[in-house]
Every structure is written in C-alpha cells, then in structure tokens.
C-alpha cells in the first residue's frame, strides 16, 4: 500500500471536516434531533477513526516495506506535506503576497509520528463519544456536550495534522477553549450540587494556567520566526539552500535549524535556546508539568469522559507532541531543563498519587507523573521512547479513566475509594479492563506500558552510562524515574485493591476508614479552596457538600454499566494491552518478546520523523545507546533497564498488596507516623495555596489599587484635586456639587481658583471699579513705558 496524495490528502481533509461539520450541525439542530443527536458526532468519529487507522496501517506497513528483510533499522523516508501536493491554504494574504516570509501558508504534514498520533486520537475520541452516550445519559446539556467534544476532536486532529507551528498553536488554543468549556460542563447545572461550583472555577483555573504557558509558546514562536527570517535574509548560502523558505513550516524550520547550527560551527545560537525554552513553556502548561500542573487535578471537575479524552489521552499529550515536533530545534541546554522538569514532575506527582483517595484524583496525578516520564524521555534523547509512551499511555490511561468512570457510574457517583471495595463482583468486565490497564501502566511485561516505560528507563541508563552524555542530570532523571515507576505500580494497585477487593463499603457498614474520613473528610472535592481569593473556608463547606452528596446517592449495590460504556472500555483495554506491540507485525519475535522491536520504534525513529538529514543531525544530540540499538552501550543499558523496571514494578505491586490486602490497618498507622510529611503530601505540597498567595491575591489587590487610582487621581486631574480633597473640605464639597451638576473637575478647579479672585474685584461698588480701572491703566502705562 503506497501513500497517494490524490486520495489520501482529501481523506485527511475529511478527517478535519467531519467533526467540525458535526459540531455545527449539533449546535444548530442538536436539540431537535432524536436522542439529541448524540449519534451524529459519534458516527462521524467512527468514520474518522476508520480513516485514521487505515492510513496508520499504510504507514506501518510502509515502515516494514522499507525496512526490508535484512536490516532492522532502515530509516523510513516519508514526510508527506500537502503543499508539495498542492494542498495549501494561503492564510494572511490571498492575492497580494502569496508565499514568502510575509504570508502564512498552511497545509497538512503527515509523517510517521503524525500518522500514529492521528490514529490514537481517532480511536480514543471515538471510544469517548461512545462511552459518553452511556455515561452522560440524562444530562441536561447533553447535545451541547457532544457538540463540544466533537469540536475538541477537530482541534486535536488539526493540531496533529497541521504542518506549521502557527496553526499548531491555533488548534492548541482552541483545545484550551474546549477544555475550558468541557471542564465547566457542569458549571451551570445546579442538579449536581457540588460540581457546578467546583467546575466553574476549575475551568477558569485551567484556562488561565495553561494560557500562561501558551503566551510563552507564543513568544517562542515569535523568536524562531523572527530569527529564521533574519538568518535567511542575511545569508546568501541559506537562500540558495532553501529558495522558498517558509519560516513557519516544521519541515523548513528543521532544515533551517540544521543549516544555521552547521553555519554556527555545530553550536546552537543563544536565541535558539531561548526560543526552545519558551516553546517548552507551552508544554509545561498544556502537559501539566511542574509548576503549572495545578490545573490538571481540578480539571477532574469535568465529566469523566472529558477527563479521559482531554486530560489523559489527547490534549495533555499535545504538549509532548509539540516537544516531538520541536525536538530538532532544541539545544542541549534546553533538553537538560526539559529532563529535570520532567523528572521532578514524574516523582512528586507520583508521591501525591499514593495518598489521595479520590479515584479520579489518583488517575489525574498518575497522568501528571506519566507525562513527566514522557517529557524526561524526550529530554534525555529518548525521543522514540517518549512518543511511544505517549501512545501507549493514551490507550491505557483513557481506558483507566473510562473504567473509573464506569465504576463511579456503577457506584452511584461516589468517587472516594474508601467507600468502594469488592466492586469486582458486581462489575466484572470493568474490573478486567481496569486490571489490564493497571498492569500496563505498572509496567508488567507483555503489556504495552512495559515496553514504552522500559525504553524510557533505557534512555536514562544510556545517559548515565554514556561517557559523552553523562553528568548528574541523567542520573537524577533515572533515579527519580525509577522511584516514580515503583510508586506508580504501588498506587495503581492500591487503587485496584481498594476498589475491587474486600467487601463493598458503599453503605458504610463495617469499614476501617471511618476515623480517617472523619479526619480528612470525603474526597471528590479537592481539599483546597475553590475561589480566586482564599478558599480554605470554601473548601470546608465543599466537604460538607460532598459528604452530603456522597451519602445521598448511596444505597443499592453497584451494577455493571450499559453497553456503550462496556464496549468502549473493552476496545481501549485491548489496545492498552497490545498498544505498543503487534505480534502480527513481526511474528519472528513471538518467542522472546522483551528483545523484540515494537513496530512503533521502527516507525518513529528520528530519521523517519524528521527526514534523513535532520534526523541524522538530531541524533547527534542523543547518546549513542539510545538510537543505535547494536552498540554495546545499548545492550548493556538495555539489560540494566529491563532489570530495573521489572524490580521496581514488582516491588510496588507487592507493597500495595501487603498494605491494602494483607495488613489493611497499616496505612493509617504509617500516615500518622509520618505526620507532617504526610500532611504536606496530602495537601499537594500546598502549591495551590502558594500560587494563590503569590500571584492571584496580589493581582486582585493591584487591580483594586489601580481602580482607585483611576477614579481618584487621574480622573480628578492629577493629585491637585486629591490634595485639595484633603486640605479644604468645603472646597471639595463645592467641586463635588458642581461635578454632580456636570462640571468637569478641572474646569471646576480653574474657575474656582481664578473666578474667586475676579469675583473679589466685582464688588458692585462703582468707585472701587474706578479705582481698579485707574490702577490697571497705570500698570499698562508703566508696562508700555518700561518695556
């Protein structure tokens, strides 16, 4: 199967067209259609899924074709960008300026990474649509919900497909908007008492927090665009090399970056570092990296399908995808920063994940942590590994969220794990799916997560062992990743055990968390404030809200969910298991899977992602152990990696089993033993409080100050007025009166000052007039004589 522009670009266009049409139809007629038209976007997404998967298959098979029988790692050369095929969209100017730096020409870029990512998005989005049909049933803004998710899907697909960074940014922002809308979905639905408050500010928080990152990305975009232009205009050689240079196209940016660095003697110019950092700012925002991660846990205020799609599988992954796109332009320094940030995020999110009780919160923090894994991987040069993990994670995390949603649905919208337990009896399918994905995320062999995580650890080892790229950074990254991986295994199985094992504690019969619930309140609502200024007091009544809410919907035992939910999670569970590793792809490795080569790594090598030259250049930043699988460095680090990841995984699982199946009394004991540390982690390191205290409060105060200034001073014609205000009360009252009459303050002042003086002269006494006149005349005469 060969890629053929005449057919396939129209198909890709269709991929974009379908959801947006669905959105428009849904907005327009949704309410009137039968079933409020949920089938409309869903079927649309089904079509999208089919197209994307079909094209992805083409890509994969293409990979194996070029791969040939003999050599394994042959670079894959397809980067299909639509402008070459004449599919392009002159954006800023239609006629006047066609191409050239002064215009933006948008098109489609379809490369291996894009191909896979597109398929992933297509699948996940479809599953979520399907799931929502069951999960959202009876919601009062049902049709709007579907409209929104389809518009979101459009944005995400567009982001993957767009061939230039500006359009990537545009779709990026639209996703932000839709995320805002969807998180806030309940915000106007009083029928969910706690959520419609939480959702309101959570959505706002998410939008604003990510927007900070977006602005950074925007500046980064400026920097690259500007300096590329300058460089191109400056040097004739570059102009020969790239006659029709489009500074926004990814392909051109990579090539140009390569040339410029080559010109610069292999050194990255400073502006590239700066731009790279700014671009990474975008990732920090969208992919919830430390310290801008704070919005993601609260994003759980949105409906579960939204959390699954946006805040697990797609949107947050977009940050990593952006890293993938920008990788060649990132100087080593930037990559170091990336590594460190990612490692920190991975570790500390995992710690929080271990102590929260809200089912979705656990998953949220695990998402942050996993994103940390990916980012670290990219930073270490494990580009393929990072992207690979992004794909596998998309599947199993989506599945986990949806299953969690199914559980919550089954347990009548309780989210606190301490009120669950033994659910596996009631919801077998859900249990199976969740278990599979948990194994995957915990990194158990034969499950997709294992391969990707293994590769990331490998990247870490390679970095550590490689004398060229050594240093403390890879070591730190490796260490924190290892610990994080263990914690991951731990808290995921903690989740499994607490939820599905033991007896059902829903109706508050015997259970041993009573005192703890009494101590910390139920979860579901986060523990911190919900309002711009301080929240703790709000926090408390939210507890009571949630409490009340929790008890309300109680009663009755859990039950398995309706078919759309089940189907959806089953599909995703299947993919979560095999996601990274189709045995069909290369049957030869059925025997010793760990040494096999997942198709993804064949597909998404730097060479295949950026084309041969750029790819080759990009790999120079990477430790040999990562990209060259035959180097002994690779082999040794591979050995270590497998060992390490297996150890941490098993350790974590065992620990979880011990604490939450064998000795269920221990957790509380430990918690009390740890004391302040426990509280610190439990309260998410107080980062929200800090943010509130350092940024939000000052801002609000500042704006109050400015408001006052504006009304008092500037308007009161500058200080003078204000001063008089205090000095002479009667004066002021006069001005006030006249102001009310309609005098403008400063005219009032003038007339007061001068008018008063003139008034003194106008006494009504004719002789005084005469005197003044004569006096004035004398002055005039004097002036005339003396001048």
């Amino acid at each position: 199967m060969e890629f053929n522009p005449e057919v396939d670009f129209p198909l890709l266009m269709a991929v974009l067209a379908i959801p947006v049409t669905a959105f428009i139809l849904q907005i327009a007629f949704g309410k009137k259609l039968p079933r409020q038209g949920d089938w409309l976007p869903t079927t649309g997404m089904f079509g999208v899924m089919c197209i994307t998967v079909y094209l992805a298959f083409k890509a994969i098979t293409a990979a194996y074709h070029t791969g040939g029988d003999g050599e394994e790692h042959a670079a894959l050369d397809f980067l299909w960008s639509s402008p070459d095929a004449g599919f392009q969209f002159k954006w800023l100017f239609d006629s006047a300026k066609d191409a050239g730096p002064l215009n933006v020409v948008a098109g489609i870029l379809y490369d291996p990474l894009g191909a896979v990512m597109l398929a992933v998005v297509g699948i996940v989005c479809f599953c979520v649509h399907l799931f929502s049909m069951g999960y959202m049933a009876g919601d009062r803004r049902y049709h709007i919900f579907f409209a929104n998710i389809s518009l979101f899907s459009f944005a995400m697909l567009g982001l993957v497909l767009s061939d230039n960074i500006l359009f990537l940014f545009i779709f990026w922002e639209i996703m932000g908007l839709m995320s805002y809308q969807l998180i806030g979905h309940f915000s106007q639905d009083p029928s969910v008492p706690f959520f419609h408050k939480w959702a309101t500010w959570a959505s706002k928080k998410a939008f604003l927090t990510t927007r900070i990152g977006d602005c950074l990305l925007f500046v980064g975009l400026f920097i690259f665009y500007r300096n590329f232009n300058l460089a191109w205009e400056a040097s004739a050689t570059l102009q020969q090399a790239m006659p029709d240079f489009q500074p926004l196209l990814f392909t051109d940016m990579w090539e140009m970056g390569r040339l410029i660095v080559a010109q610069n003697g292999g050194e990255f110019p400073a502006w590239m570092t700066l731009g790279g950092l700014c671009a990474f700012g975008g990732t920090i925002g969208k992919s919830a990296q430390f310290p801008l991660h704070i919005w993601l846990p609260d994003a759980m205020a949105g409906p579960t399908p939204v959390s699954a799609m946006i805040h697990a599988a797609t949107m947050v992954a977009a940050g990593v995808f952006l890293l993938g796109r920008m990788y060649p332009l990132m100087s080593p320094e930037v990559l170091n920063v990336v590594t460190v940030i990612g490692a920190i995020t991975a570790l500390f999110a995992a710690t929080i994940g271990m102590v929260v009780y809200d089912l979705k919160a656990v998953l949220a923090y695990s998402t942050i942590s996993q994103l940390g894994f990916m980012v670290t991987a990219v930073g270490l040069g494990g580009l393929t590994a990072g992207m690979f993990h992004m794909v596998t994670h998309a599947f199993f995390k989506a599945c986990l969220f949806l299953s969690a949603g199914s559980v919550i649905h089954g347990c009548h919208h309780v989210q606190d794990m301490r009120l669950m337990g033994g659910v596996r009896k009631y919801m077998p399918i859900t249990f199976v799916c969740m278990l599979v994905c948990t194994l995957a995320i915990a990194g158990v062999p034969f499950f997709s997560g294992f391969y990707s995580k293994d590769m990331i650890i490998l990247a870490g080892w390679a970095g550590v062992l490689d004398p060229a790229h050594g240093g403390w950074i890879p070591a730190f990254a490796l260490a924190s990743l290892a610990i994080a991986a263990m914690m991951t295994a731990f808290y995921m199985f903690r989740l499994i055990f607490m939820t599905f094992f033991g007896e059902y504690r829903g109706n508050q019969k015997q259970h041993m968390y009573t005192e703890q619930i009494a101590l910390e309140g139920l979860e579901g609502p986060p523990l911190h404030g919900h309002d711009d200024d301080h929240g703790d007091d709000h926090g408390h009544d939210d507890h009571s809200d949630a409490d009340h809410h929790g008890h309300d919907d109680h009663g009755g035992t859990p039950h398995e969910s309706p078919w759309p939910i089940v189907v959806a999670i089953s599909i995703l569970a299947f993919l979560g298991m095999f996601g990274g590793h189709f045995w069909l792809a290369d049957p030869g490795h059925l025997i010793h899977p760990t040494h096999s080569e997942p198709w993804f790594t064949k597909l998404a090598t730097p060479e295949s992602m950026y084309g041969p030259e750029v790819g080759a250049w990009a790999t120079t930043k990477i430790s040999e152990g990562i990209h060259n699988h035959d180097s002994d460095l690779a082999h040794s680090s591979h050995a270590y990696a497998v060992g390490l990841s297996l150890t941490v995984a098993s350790l974590g699982i065992l620990l979880a089993w011990f604490l939450y199946v064998r000795r269920r009394d221990l957790p509380n004991v430990i918690a009390t033993k740890l004391g302040p540390i426990y509280t610190l982690v439990r309260r998410r390191y107080f980062i929200d409080e800090i943010a509130t205290a350092c940024f939000i409060k000052p801002t609000m105060q500042l704006c109050t100050v400015f408001k006052t200034i504006d009304e008092r001073i500037i308007d009161g014609f500058v200080l003078l007025n204000g001063a008089i205000h205090h000095k002479l009360a009667f004066f002021w009252t006069w001005i006030d009166k006249t102001v009310v009459d309609g005098l403008v303050n400063f005219v009032g002042l003038l007339s007061q000052a001068f008018g008063a003086a003139f008034r003194l002269l106008q006494t009504g006494r004719i002789q005084q007039y005469a005197a003044f006149a004569v006096g004035g005349g004398l002055l005039v005469a004097a002036w005339l004589i003396l001048s």
Partner: protein
C-alpha cells in the same frame, strides 16, 4: 477618477434621511424607524458594493477622489477620497450605524430626535474617514461631537449630564490643540490637502520655515509641538492612558446603541487620525517618539486590563477592556513595522466588531435586570443559554482566541512590535503578553459571575434573547469568526496602503 460621486452619496445620504425624518410627524413611530433604517441601509449597501466591487485593492492611491473648491479665499477644498486604510472603517461605520437603528427601537423618549441625531452622527463619522482636506477633516471631526453630546446627555443614564459634558470637554480640549497645529501646517504648506502635506513632509520641507521664528512655539521645535498637539488630540479619542477617563463615564451613561457606536467607531477615529493626519506629517518626530508611544500603549494595555479586572459594573468593565484593546493599536503604530500596522489596522476593525457586541451583550442583560452589578447576577446561563453562548463567543473573540478575529490583530501587532528595530520593544511585548492573560482573566471572571453558579431566583423567568437582539449581534459575531478564519478579507484590501505608509514613515522626512 470617479465620475459618480459615490463617497459623497455614502456620506450625505444619512443627512438626507435626517431631513426626511424631520418631516415625519413626531408620533408616527413606525415611519420614523423605517426612514432611519433605510437611511442607514443605503450607505451600507453602497459601502459593501464599494468594498467588494468598485474598490481597486491593488493600488495604494486614493480612489474615488472628489475635489472641488469650497472656500477659495482660504484655499479650502471639498476633497474626499478613500484608500485601504479608511475603506474597512467606512464599511464598519455603515454597518454599525445600521445595526444601531434596530438596537434603539426600544427608545421611548422622542425617538424622532434620537434617530435624527444618530443620522447626523453618521455623517460626521463618515466624513472624517473620507476627507482628505484637513479643514474638512476638522469640520467633520467637530460635527460629530454635538450629536454625541445630546445622544448621551438626553437618552443616557442617571449621571448622563456629567458624562456628556465630560466627553464633550475632553474631546474639544484635544481638538482645539489640533486646530492650532492644523493652522500652523496650513500656513507652512499653503494648503490644506493632507496628501500634499505628506509629500512636503516626505521631502523634509515641512519644517515651519514659513512661520515666524521658524515655527517655534513655547520653546518647542515646530515638528515637536505639531506632533504632540495632533497626537494628544487623537489620543484623547482613542483613548490612550492617561486621557482615558472620559471613556468609562461616557460608556456607562450612554444608551446601548450609543456605547456600541462609541466603542465600535469613535475610538477608531483616534487611531485612524493618527495614521492619516498625524504621523505622516511629521514622520521624523514620530520616529523619535516611537518608544514613548509604545510605552503609552503598553500602559494602556496592562493598566486597562487591571482596572477592568477590578470593576463590579459590567459596562464599566467592558469600557476599560476597550482601553486595553486600543492599547494594541498604539503599540502597533509605534512598532513602525508592516506587521505592526497590519495588526493595528485589523485590531481597529476587529475591536470594532467585538467590543460592539460586548456592549450589546451588556445592553441585553441591562434591559432585563435594569442593573449592571456583576456580583448581582449568577446562573443566567441556565435561563438564557443562547445569550450565554453568544456572550462567550464574543468574549473569546475579544480576548484574542485563535480562530477568532481578535487573535489575528493581536498576534500581528505583538509580532510587529517584537520585530521592531528598537530592542526594548521585546520587553513591551512580554508585558503586553501579561495583558493577554489579564484580559482572559477578567473576561472569564465576568462570565463566571454573570452566567455560572447558582441561579438567582429573581432572574428565573427571564426570556432568552429576542430575534431583534440576535439580529443585531449575529452579523458582528459572524464577522469575528469569518475574519478569524479568513483574515485576508481585511488584509488584502489594506495591504498596498499599509506597505506604502510604513515605507513612508520609516524612511521619509
């Protein structure tokens, strides 16, 4: 160039309409509405025709010129013409004035007078946009003030008298200084034709040599005081910090349709005046003072956003958002790069649409609740979903969300500033980015306080937007989306003029 005096027709048809209106009996409301609708619709149609049919977008020259002597003794001509810079604004004017008519159907107090003044206002505005003779320009500029004064003063809110006279005084204070500068220019060049003055300035001949004392005034160089007098005159209109304080009062007190026009067009007059009749006449001084203007612009952006964030009055908030958004225009001008000017010019248009809708939005809720206290609302979205949707759309357009019009202009402006020769502009860009976040903040904060949360019982039985209200908002919202997706619908038309202007400003004089 044009045999048929199209521009004159566009400009003066409202005047004819006004004359007809005065003949209509006072209590025949339908006839009054009909006449004013027609009188505003015809210019809109003509302007649209001009935009898409008659206008030649490949050239930067003045088109549809009309030039006849008016007051020969003073060498004053009736000289009008149009180019890429004014075309879009003319069209926007006709559109907004047309929408303002149905928007004011609810006016109960002597609608006849109201619509008559409205039409007179349109004449003034259009006149400013088309006139190429500085005297004519000034005359139209001043003609605008009177109807505005009465429109705010008679049909405004409780403190309307204060707001009206304040608006009048501020603008007049600016424009008398302008007059002084204009006279000086006239004496120096011996002509009122703005293009001619531009030519002289381009050749560096506009130096005040023909004035006593080389045109020095109050110890200022000729160029300097001319520039500042003109600039202040226009800056008050824009309004630029610290000349902005008339704006909130005028907006808060004015009736909805007038706020719409005020924010939609009158503010643009300031920006337009700068690039038409201030910078090109003293390009050198302009270049010297670019950074000052940029700083003023940035202050307006951030400061406006901050103050807006602190507001509890819905309309006041929107008013300050205008201060903030117009700051981009000034920043773009100061950048002195093509991108900056594309940005600023499109920003003028896009802010014209988005802010207009924002004021209509405020009007919608005010007509129902009869107050504008942001904290007094809540949960409105539950009863007025359509209203909520439209509001959200226009707010996001205003905060420059990609895919909507605002993004184009803000992005272009900021990039234009970013690539300015003066490196300090990069700092301004960063600060303005803060303005972006703040804008998002106060708009979302407003949405939250008005639409989300618990529904206040007393708003339970509000009706969603009526057809008339939707009719007024829909076209503008459509523009917000359309121009966000196809920005070339604006840029192509202004491109030649902008290129020429920037080239002129950057090199000449």
């Amino acid at each position: 160039m044009a045999e048929f005096p199209l521009l004159s027709w566009i400009t003066f048809i409202p005047l004819i309409g006004m004359a007809l209106l005065l003949l209509v009996p006072k209590n025949n409301k339908t006839a009054i509405k009909a006449v004013s609708l027609v009188a505003t619709a015809i210019p809109l149609v003509l302007a649209t025709w001009l935009y898409f049919g008659l206008f030649d977008k490949t050239t930067a020259d003045l088109q549809w010129k009309e030039r006849v002597d008016w007051i020969p003794l003073m060498k004053i001509q009736y000289f009008i013409g149009i180019d890429g810079l004014s075309l879009s604004l003319v069209w926007l004017t006709t559109l907004l004035l047309f929408l303002a008519v149905p928007l004011s159907f609810s006016i109960s107090k002597t609608p006849k007078a109201f619509f008559a003044l409205l039409l007179l206002l349109e004449v003034g505005i259009l006149g400013v946009f088309v006139s190429q003779d500085y005297f004519l320009f000034y005359v139209f500029w001043e003609i605008m003030l009177l109807p505005m004064y009465f429109l705010i003063g008679i049909w405004g809110g409780p403190r309307r008298e204060y707001a009206a006279i304040k608006f009048f005084l501020y603008t007049l204070a600016g424009s008398v200084l302008m007059l002084v500068a204009v006279i000086a220019l006239r004496i120096d060049t011996g002509s009122f034709s703005i293009p001619y003055m531009m030519d002289l300035a381009g050749q560096g001949l506009l130096t005040g040599a023909n004035l006593p004392g080389g045109g020095e005034l109050l110890g200022m160089e000729f160029g300097t005081w001319i520039f500042w007098f003109l600039f202040v005159g226009f800056a008050i209109k824009v309004p630029v910090f610290p000349f902005h304080t008339w704006l909130p009062d005028a907006h808060v007190q004015a009736p909805t349709s007038i706020s719409v026009i005020l924010a939609g067009i009158l503010l643009k007059l300031g920006g337009y005046g700068m690039i038409r009749a201030c910078f090109p006449l003293v390009p050198e001084t302009f270049r010297e003072n670019c950074s000052v203007l940029a700083i003023l612009g940035v202050i307006s952006i951030v400061y406006g956003a901050y103050v807006a964030l602190g507001q509890t009055d819905f309309k006041r908030m929107v008013a300050y958002s205008s201060v903030s958004h117009m700051g981009y225009v000034l920043l773009g001008f100061a950048a002195l790069t093509e991108w900056g000017y594309y940005g600023a010019a499109t920003q003028m248009f896009n802010h014209g649409t988005s802010s207009a809708v924002m004021f209509m939005v405020v009007g919608v809720i005010y007509d129902r609740a009869h107050h504008r206290d942001l904290n007094g609302f809540g949960g409105i979205a539950q009863v007025m979903p359509r209203y909520w949707a439209m509001t959200t759309l226009c707010f996001f357009a205003a905060m420059g969300l990609p895919g909507l019009a605002g993004f184009i202009s803000e992005a272009l402006t900021l990039y234009g500033a970013f690539i300015a020769d003066d490196p300090t502009f990069k700092i301004y860009v960063f600060i303005s980015m803060m303005g972006l976040v703040l804008t998002a903040a106060f708009l979302l904060y407003a949405i939250q306080r008005v639409f989300l949360g618990d529904l206040n019982e007393k708003y339970k039985d509000y009706k969603d937007m009526s057809g008339r209200e939707i009719f007024c908002q829909a076209p503008l919202l459509f523009l917000c989306v359309l121009l966000g997706v196809f920005p070339y619908l604006l840029l192509d038309w202004m491109e030649p003029s902008v290129v020429q202007l920037v080239e002129f400003l950057a090199t000449q004089g």
